[in-house]
Symmetry: C2
Subunit: 126 residues, 2 copies
């Protein structure tokens, strides 16, 4: 196999890249994971906001919109006052959780190896 042949993640329109784009917005996977941890795979805005340390209200809404557009979650409004909005995992979203959890699991299983390096020992290269 010669070089120059995009056999790997070559083409810009391939499925793998499409998946990576889902991770572009850094909160996507965490939101999905949080929803999954809830009973019924659903949660309201406020709950999500509280369960995701560091996320801003803006990013939450924004990411939720994108995820809805990607078909990962669905939005349900209770026409009460004050309004209650609930987000639920869709079939696609639920399926996407498999590879995500695998990724998370890998992270936990290799936490030590990752630690050694994020701390940046002391002397390196040059």
């Amino acid at each position: 196999m010669k070089a120059g042949t995009p056999d790997a993640a070559g083409r810009e329109d391939c499925a793998p890249r499409r998946v990576l784009e889902l991770f572009a917005t850094k909160w996507t996977s965490m939101i999905l994971h949080t929803l999954a941890s809830r009973h019924g795979g659903a949660a309201r805005t406020g709950a999500l906001l509280r369960s995701l340390p560091g996320i801003s209200k803006k990013m939450l809404t924004q990411t939720l919109r994108e995820m809805e557009g990607s078909g990962l979650i669905s939005r349900h409004v209770e026409a009460t006052t004050p309004p209650a909005v609930e987000y639920r995992l869709t079939a696609l979203g639920t399926r996407f959780l498999e590879p995500i959890d695998l990724l998370y699991g890998w992270g936990r299983a290799n936490a030590d190896a990752l630690d050694l390096l994020t701390v940046r020992p002391s002397s390196r290269r040059r």
Copy 2:
């Protein structure tokens, strides 16, 4: 389980988040994948540059540096003229390929579902 309990991807210093950061630089997984497709899990700069449509020389080098710092790959220099540099998968990098390939595989398996949405049908919300 009540809300407010960061049971999911809560803490900012947890392993899952650490893993996500590896995806922060969008080329990391693709570089790993490309290296894996080579015999011996190694490739030279030029080859990588040609195998990754769209990447710039700058980003390649930069990403390779970060990956080296993260222990995913190692750098080997042949002191010839012109110099020949080769990057190789490390044990950690190889292990990280498992979840990555799973992710890619998922993308291919759900390519159709993703297509329907990236095209954005026509009428939606509002």
